[in-house]
């Protein structure tokens, strides 16, 4: 790994993008409906569920990594799947890490506006389904923000994927685990280069996000 940008580094970047996009997509598919449902539902122990969600939002990646490791390890409950140190294991860990974030942000946003929207829809004579769809449409900015935040987390974390992916060269080595390895090797120059690429990707994601949001109309700028 002496070259600044060779095929291996490109493969690492591609792998990282594949992993983060996949895990964010799965987390969104689970987290967004879960957050909306959590706001709507009322059941015993809901406060506890919300509290757990809040805690998980801040869970250290290393802890999540360790839990997934213990589940997937040879003697663990799902050891027979032989998923440890694979791409799939990293995606699983990231999904566990990100879903609570997406869910929590959507829940909070929904909690803030859903009741107002429900009352409004009622005054307009909307039925249940129409009310629901208006609530989701009105939350689209926040949902988008939740997904972007989740993606940021997926992109930046290293603790979980290091443990469950194992940072195996050509297989599970991502940008962040490579960075940490380069530091361990003392190859600071290459580390900074990769770090800069990471920053560039983060920057591009924000650009795209902003572009899409603009098309969707910016909710807050006019206030």
């Amino acid at each position: 790994m002496t070259q600044i940008l060779d095929a291996e580094v490109l493969a690492i970047i591609t792998l990282t993008l594949r992993m983060t996009i996949l895990s964010t997509a799965i987390s969104s598919v689970i987290g967004v409906p879960l957050g909306l449902w959590l706001d709507r539902a009322s059941f015993a122990g809901k406060r506890l569920v919300v509290m757990i969600n809040r805690t998980l939002m801040a869970s250290p990646p290393v802890v999540v990594g360790l839990v997934v490791y213990l589940i997937l390890m040879r003697n663990g409950p799902l050891g027979f799947l032989r998923l440890l140190f694979t791409f799939e294991a990293m995606v699983i860990a990231q999904v566990l890490l990100i879903t609570p974030i997406v869910c929590g942000i959507v829940y909070t946003a929904s909690q803030r506006s859903s009741e107002r929207i429900r009352v409004f829809a009622l005054t307009m004579g909307a039925d249940k389904r129409q009310t629901r769809s208006l609530q989701i449409k009105e939350l689209s900015n926040e949902i988008f923000f939740a997904v972007i935040t989740g993606y940021g987390r997926a992109m930046s974390e290293v603790g979980a994927i290091m443990i469950v992916g194992g940072n195996i060269r050509h297989h599970t080595r991502t940008m962040t685990t490579t960075l940490s390895l380069l530091r361990n090797r003392g190859e600071i120059e290459q580390a900074v280069f990769l770090g800069a690429i990471l920053m560039l990707i983060a920057f591009s994601v924000q650009m795209i996000a902003d572009f899409l949001r603009k098309r969707e109309r910016r909710a807050d700028e006019n206030f």
């Binding site: 107002r116 929207i117 009352v119 409004f120 009622l122 005054t123 307009m124 004579g125 909307a126 039925d127 129409q130 208006l134 449409k137 009105e138 900015n141 109309r217 909710a219 006019n222 206030f223």
Partner: protein, 231 residues
């Protein structure tokens, strides 16, 4: 419409309406001091809050036929146009261009139809919520202090609109406003509320000019001093 034994309480406040009959096709005004229960009663009628007990007979009206406008109402995070046609859209009605233009002109928002609705001034927002509630010609319209942010001229335009609609296709309106001038110009029948109860009721002419109830008298006295209603 008939209300019987309606009861709703929050903490210390309690709304109690034993028996109230509001024949359809009339414009009713509800007046009374702050905290007398006007909004609570209107919300209960609009079906926005579940009463603790009691019953409302809507005489055939369904929730789809009822609308309520507040002083500050939710605006969809979209254009003025989208907001206006929302009630039509959910009823599967294709908005008629002429109708849309007419209502937006009344609200003075035709030029701003492509603007982002939550970004409007509060007066414009209020006008938009009013035309949005009226465009689908509901059978029962409840208006809670929704003229408060309007200048005299705009308020008069809306009064005209309501009266005109009333003539062409009779609906029931229940209007609550602090400025008695609106009530006076619009309403044929008035309910005076006090401490969660309907203290007295009667035709507008009699209620506003020859009040008998002592609480209503003192309320009107203050109101007239302030606004010169009984001119």
């Amino acid at each position: 419409m008939k209300i019987s034994n309606l009861h709703k309480s929050y903490g210390k406040f309690s709304l109690q309406v034993e028996d109230l009959s509001l024949p359809a096709g009339e414009i009713y005004g509800i007046i009374g001091p702050n905290g007398c229960g006007k909004t609570t009663l209107m919300k209960a009628i609009a079906g926005l809050l579940e009463p603790d007990s009691g019953h409302i007979d809507y005489n055939g009206l369904t929730p789809r036929d009822i609308t309520m406008v507040f002083r500050k109402q939710y605006l969809i995070h979209d254009t003025v146009l989208h907001n206006l046609v929302y009630p039509l859209k959910i009823r599967g009605i294709k908005p008629d261009e002429e109708l849309v233009k007419r209502y937006l002109d009344i609200a003075g928002l035709w030029e701003s139809r492509e603007e982002y609705a939550p970004g409007l001034s509060s007066g414009q927002q209020q006008k938009l919520t009013l035309v949005r509630a009226l465009i689908f010609s509901p059978g029962l319209v409840l208006i809670d202090e929704a003229f408060s942010n309007l200048d005299m001229e705009s308020a008069a335009t809306f009064e005209q609109l309501i009266l005109e609609k009333q003539r062409s296709s009779p609906a029931t309106y229940i209007i609550c406003a602090h400025q008695l001038s609106h009530i006076q110009r619009l309403c044929g029948y008035i309910l005076f509320m006090h401490s969660g109860r309907i203290e007295t009721q009667g035709p507008a002419s009699q209620m506003l000019t020859q009040p008998e109830n002592s609480k209503l008298k003192s309320y009107l006295q203050y109101a007239s001093l302030k606004e010169g209603v009984t001119d």
